[in-house]
């Protein structure tokens, strides 16, 4: 019988099993290191320095650092096999579709990591709180809600998803030192965008008042009017429909586009 050449649940399950057979040591070590670092450092600070965490907001920066650093490092290793000829042959010749292989690695590096990280963070927080209560008899005030109040905090996660997609794409381009090379590429891309913005702003507003210094790229330009006794700024903002388009693009377009490119890059891999 002719098999489905794009997607088959059983085949993907087999590939997942195969992937974990190859990588369980790395995943186990990685999980232990992340959980150990998150919990160990904070508990040591409480027990050795006897300095309590009064509010949850004092712990939140560690959470965000772990989320971004761990998640992006982990994602950049998604196609690590392609960095070695032997492993690359094994990866590409295994009878599963490129789509199944991509989806498996995508799910592990995105949803898999987020799931592990949040369970780990929750447990870590509980241990830190328990240690603090036992050693210093002091609770941690819940003053920070990750997704609420103000609601803009949710954009941290949109940012994470976009960066995760960029690092997944980077992993298909750079098979060795993928993390460092992707960081560099993201900086170069950001710098190029900023440069284009400077050129456009200068063309539109002229060079005289160095408008490029007083602009938020592709969003607004501030113009200072200096009078004899006072000064005021006029802000030129892009129209609302364009702002909404930006928001829509950030929320729903950039990451999927990067994922799709990463998938086609994987399909085009040669050894």
């Amino acid at each position: 019988m002719q098999p489905n050449n794009v997607f088959n649940v059983r085949r993907m399950q087999l590939y997942l099993q195969k992937h974990f057979t190859d990588h369980y040591r790395f995943y186990g070590m990685g999980m232990l290191v992340i959980f150990g670092l998150m919990t160990g450092i904070a508990v040591l600070m409480i027990l050795v320095a006897r300095e309590p965490f009064r509010r949850m907001s004092e712990l939140v920066p560690f959470y965000y650092i772990g989320l971004f650093l761990g998640g992006l490092l982990f994602t950049s290793r998604a196609f690590n096999e392609l960095g070695s000829k032997e492993k690359g042959v094994d990866f590409l010749m295994l009878p599963a579709s490129q789509f199944e292989k991509f989806i498996t690695l995508f799910l592990i590096s995105s949803i898999g990591y987020l799931l592990f990280y949040h369970i780990s963070s929750y447990l870590s927080f509980k241990i830190i709180e328990g240690a603090q209560l036992t050693a210093l008899n002091q609770k941690i005030e819940r003053n920070y809600d990750l997704l609420d109040n103000p609601k803009e905090k949710v954009y941290v996660y949109y940012g994470y998803v976009i960066l995760q997609a960029a690092f997944l794409l980077g992993a298909t381009y750079f098979h060795k030192y993928s993390f460092i090379k992707t960081v560099l590429s993201v900086f170069i891309f950001g710098f190029a965008l900023w440069l284009i913005n400077c050129i456009i702003v200068t063309l539109l507003f002229g060079f005289g008042q160095e408008f490029w210094k007083r602009s938020v790229p592709f969003l607004l330009v501030a113009k200072q009017e200096v009078g004899p006794s006072s000064w005021h700024s006029t802000v030129y903002l892009i129209p609302e429909w364009l702002q909404n388009t930006y928001l829509f693009t950030i929320k729903f377009v950039i990451a999927p586009v990067l994922w799709i490119i990463a998938y086609f890059r994987l399909k085009d891999q040669e050894i």
């Binding site: 002719q2 098999p3 489905n4 050449n5 088959n8 085949r11 087999l14 099993q17 195969k18 057979t21 190859d22 040591r25 070695s84 000829k85 032997e86 492993k87 042959v89 094994d90 590409l92 010749m93 295994l94 009878p95 599963a96 579709s97 490129q98 399909k267 085009d268 040669e270 050894i271």
Partner: protein, 277 residues
């Protein structure tokens, strides 16, 4: 089975490795892909396996374009690369993980091949030598029962008894619906095994004949005085005298000397080629 049409491929621009290459390999044969180091054997095998894509032309296996690497294609082809990867697990775990991808995998045959190669089935792959690992991979490749089996320098790293075991298991594994392609530069390793010869040199296929046709048209013999032998196409001297290739005018039956034929074709293939045209 394997059909390569007008294949052009280059690693670098303006330096083509293959230009307009044509090759058709049929089921029921064991092909020996012979060539010097760097002749392009591994590249050709990678094209067949879909690990490299043609710049132009096509490479199809069982009608599937190999470059698409579709599961229907991948489950009917097995590549034993020269340098390979095996995970750090036991033989049993390896089989349990990889075998379900191959619908015709024969587990009993796999353990029989291991027995033939004298590999203990309870051993961890990490505890094995390179040669032992290679034998596990060859056993798996044969047990996978794929229609196309391609092997890149499979005898590299095998000791002398293992090379003989290798020939034995491969000869037993061939069937009418299988096409086995073995690439090597150690042509003696394939003596008595292959039934078709493909010689690649300078990125071109310069010779492609089955062994029967070769022995029908050429005679391989050892003579003490070369001057007394007429129609010598190629000769090589050794301690026992001279091994020579002559035209087989009298329809004598001789045993093919693969290395001699290989050297003859690489040295000056035109007179021999003319006999086959």
């Amino acid at each position: 089975m394997i059909n390569i049409q007008s294949l052009t491929f280059s690693y670098r621009k303006n330096k083509p490795l293959f230009e307009n290459l044509q090759l058709r390999l049929e089921a029921g044969h064991i092909y020996g892909l012979l060539g010097k180091n760097g002749a392009g054997k591994s590249t050709l095998l990678k094209q067949m396996a879909g690990l490299l894509f043609p710049d132009s032309g096509t490479c199809e296996v069982l009608g599937y374009p190999s470059a698409k690497r579709q599961p229907a294609f991948l489950r009917e082809i097995f590549l034993v690369p020269e340098e390979f990867y095996l995970p750090k697990v036991s033989v049993k775990r390896y089989v349990n993980t990889y075998a379900p991808f191959y619908p015709n995998f024969d587990e009993a045959a796999f353990y029989n091949y291991l027995k033939e190669f004298e590999i203990p089935k309870d051993q961890q792959l990490t505890e094995m030598s390179y040669g032992q690992k290679k034998k596990v991979l060859i056993s798996f490749a044969l047990a996978a029962n794929t229609k196309a089996l391609i092997m890149d320098e499979p005898t590299n790293g095998l000791d002398i008894p293992s090379k003989s075991q290798f020939r034995k298991v491969i000869a037993a594994a061939v069937s009418d619906d299988k096409c086995i392609v073995i690439s090597t530069h150690q042509v003696r390793d394939l003596d008595n095994l292959i039934d078709s010869i493909v010689i690649i040199d300078d990125h071109k296929i310069i010779f492609r004949e089955d062994v029967q046709t070769v022995t029908d048209k050429l005679s391989f013999k050892t003579v003490s005085r070369i001057e007394e032998t007429t129609g010598v196409l190629f000769a090589d001297s050794n301690l026992r005298g001279h091994t020579v290739i002559t035209r087989n005018a009298g329809q004598e039956q001789s045993k093919i000397d693969m290395e001699l034929l290989f050297n003859a074709i690489l040295t000056n293939h035109k007179p021999i080629q003319e006999i086959f045209n």
